[in-house]
């Protein structure tokens, strides 16, 4: 068993005996145009069925809703006015002034942003945030920790993948994920739109129904030295794929660039290996607080507290045994 929290190399923790670099995404939401090519490419490559019925959700251009068993990339759309933009700029500036400890050489950008030119580079009174969300492939993955069957495993690329033939759909991982990513796939919700009444070819069977499903970081493509489908399809390079260390470095350079341009609202999500999940394999550059995008503001892998929970449970077991013993001593009542 590897460590349960804090900075670590997850592949080494999982006893892979090689120096394969950890792979990951850097999703730069500042250049996402919301085209959803990533969603489509992911669906097609992974043969993921339709998620529920086609319906308009009334949430800007997002009719996907959320990540789920059959949606492994989800593009969020947020419409914001002037007030919220100003707030985001302030909260971003406050983050920079916290002076986060970092590894490696300091970023080239000025750390004192009080003097930075904050004239908005684009429309001042309205903005559209678009962000392609995905599994975080955490250093300490809540789903993987609590999986009882061993169906979830750490790959040689440091990613977290479900083995479809092992998972029995117990659902523990769904509750274990601090980001609400993994989900048990239900069946019977698929409706295929057919062009003609007489061409009902019957609904295709839903693959992997009843078992937990999530992004595999295209494990089948990685083993062939290919780029994951979403990153390959992204027309603006908003989704970047590569060695995790390079992704984090690219993210740091990018956020420093944006700060230098006066976009103090830019911030990184998941690039800190000292956070509650030991850093994420998928790093994001966000332009507002994480919860605005539906991301948790301070996620913590539940298993980090498991040793304490076992101790408390042990005390409770001792208490129960003592109560039972006490009930029987003192002769016949």
């Amino acid at each position: 068993m590897g460590q349960l929290s804090g900075p670590t190399d997850p592949t080494a923790d999982a006893h892979w005996e090689h120096n394969h670099p950890r792979k990951g995404f850097f999703t730069d939401t500042s250049i996402c145009i919301g085209c959803k090519a990533c969603e489509v490419a992911c669906k097609e490559w992974n043969h993921n069925p339709q998620d529920g019925n086609l319906e308009l959700l009334g949430s800007s251009y997002d009719n996907t809703g959320a990540l789920g068993a059959s949606t492994w990339r989800h593009v969020a759309f947020i419409e914001q006015g002037q007030d919220r933009i100003a707030e985001a700029r302030e909260s971003g500036r406050a983050l920079v002034s916290l002076g986060m400890p970092r590894i490696g050489p300091p970023a080239p950008a000025a750390t004192d942003l009080a003097e930075a030119d904050t004239t908005p580079p684009d429309t001042a009174d309205f903005r559209w945030l678009m962000s392609s969300d995905v599994c975080k492939h955490c250093t300490h993955a809540g789903c993987l920790d609590v999986c009882p069957t061993g169906a979830l495993f750490r790959t040689e690329f440091g990613t977290v993948v479900v083995q479809d033939d092992v998972c029995n759909g117990c659902g523990t991982c769904v509750a274990g994920c601090p980001f609400g990513v993994i989900e048990r796939r239900s069946n019977g919700t698929v409706k295929v739109a057919t062009s003609r009444e007489d061409q009902h070819a019957g609904h295709p069977a839903v693959p992997n129904a009843g078992i937990a499903q999530k992004c595999t970081l295209c494990y089948d493509r990685l083993v062939a030295d290919e780029t994951p489908a979403c990153a390959k399809a992204c027309p603006t390079t908003s989704i970047k794929f590569g060695d995790h260390d390079d992704m984090v470095e690219t993210a740091r350079e990018r956020v420093a660039d944006l700060h230098a341009q006066g976009m103090t609202e830019a911030r990184l999500y998941g690039a800190n290996e000292n956070d509650g999940v030991g850093g994420t394999g998928s790093v994001f550059l966000l332009l507002d607080e994480p919860e605005v995008y539906g991301l948790p503001p301070d996620p913590r892998v539940p298993t980090a507290d498991l040793p304490k929970m076992y101790r408390r449970a042990g005390m409770a077991v001792a208490g129960m045994a003592a109560a039972a013993a006490l009930a029987f001593v003192g002769g016949r009542a």
Partner: protein, 323 residues
């Protein structure tokens, strides 16, 4: 002073996903507790010469654990793969540890209960030469089941605590005490229903201890939890169930204390205690699912604790960074 959090979310959609568990799992939480406590009462009866208590507790343990196991398998996404639970042992997975505890417990509970069934049927079970073996290991099996009884009652609390479901996770320190207390009072209640009062003295004591533990642990848990994450325990269906659970536990406890030697009062008190335990499990279960469905319970406690750490000068452990 922690600043008031500014609460925003993505169109009010949940951040974490609720466990895809139905009422079957809540039923298992209840039945597992009944089985665990019954095995302890069965061993007590075995060691102190109370044959009817021993027999009824053993039969109760087997019935409860069997029903619970069926409920668990039924709730799986792929029930035909239930044996995959035993293809590995993972200490980081309370579900894996629990599957092994449940298996070990069931072995002892099964053997000791089959011995009782054989006796009840006048040695008519088609056991052949195995009857001698059964009679020889019956006592040891009762002890073995009792050894795994406490872990069976407590692990489900760890299972719920070790999730990102806000209310369950926030309760992780006290929930094991709530669950073992609930197991004690429920199994004692079952014994008081099934067994004549002359043999249920220990069950009555266990019931009262269970009620005291249950009410106290629940109060301490609610006080020590994050106040926002504790809210679902007081609201809606879950809140109503937990309120009635406490009332029934107290009523059952008082009935046991004051009239437990009367067969009718004992049985009524036992039923109240069983209902109280079921409501505790369903209430805690539902409160957790409700907390996962509302983004407020994920976001607000997290923003509060992050702000508190920053106010205390800890700035290096946030997931959001400026560089």
């Amino acid at each position: 002073m922690v600043p008031e959090p500014e609460f925003s979310s993505y169109y009010g959609r949940p951040v974490v996903k609720p466990a895809p568990w139905g009422d079957d799992v809540a039923i298992y939480l209840f039945l597992g507790g009944v089985a665990a406590g019954s095995a302890l009462l069965g061993l007590g009866g075995q060691l102190t010469g109370r044959p009817i208590l021993r027999r009824n507790a053993r039969l109760g343990a087997l019935a409860a654990v069997s029903g619970g196991a069926v409920a668990l398998v039924k709730d799986l996404g792929r029930p035909e793969r239930f044996l995959h639970m035993l293809r590995t042992f993972k200490v980081t997975s309370p579900m894996s540890v629990g599957s092994w505890i449940l298996s070990a417990f069931s072995a002892g509970a099964g053997v000791s209960a089959v011995a009782e069934i054989d006796r009840l049927s006048g040695d008519r079970l088609p056991l052949g030469p195995l009857r001698k073996v059964l009679n020889a290991v019956e006592g040891a099996a009762g002890i073995e089941a009792a050894v795994f009884a406490g872990p069976l009652a407590a692990y489900t609390a760890v299972l719920l605590g070790d999730t990102a479901t806000p209310t369950w996770n926030a309760a992780h320190e006290e929930l094991p005490f709530v669950f073992v207390s609930s197991a004690c009072l429920a199994s004692a209640g079952l014994a008081m229903v099934t067994t004549p009062v002359r043999e249920t003295g220990p069950a009555r004591k266990l019931a009262v201890l269970g009620v005291v533990g249950d009410v106290a642990a629940m109060k301490i848990m609610e006080r020590r939890m994050d106040p926002v994450a504790a809210e679902p325990l007081h609201q809606g269906k879950a809140g109503a169930m937990l309120k009635w659970s406490e009332r029934l536990a107290v009523a059952g406890g008082l009935g046991t204390l004051l009239g437990g030697r009367n067969r009718v009062v004992a049985a009524a008190s036992g039923l109240a205690l069983l209902a109280a335990s079921a409501l505790t499990r369903f209430g805690v279960f539902e409160a957790g699912l409700a907390s996962a469905r509302d983004p407020r319970y994920t976001i607000e406690p997290q923003k509060n604790r992050l702000a508190a750490r920053r106010a205390a000068g800890v700035t290096g452990d946030a997931i959001t960074t400026g560089s």
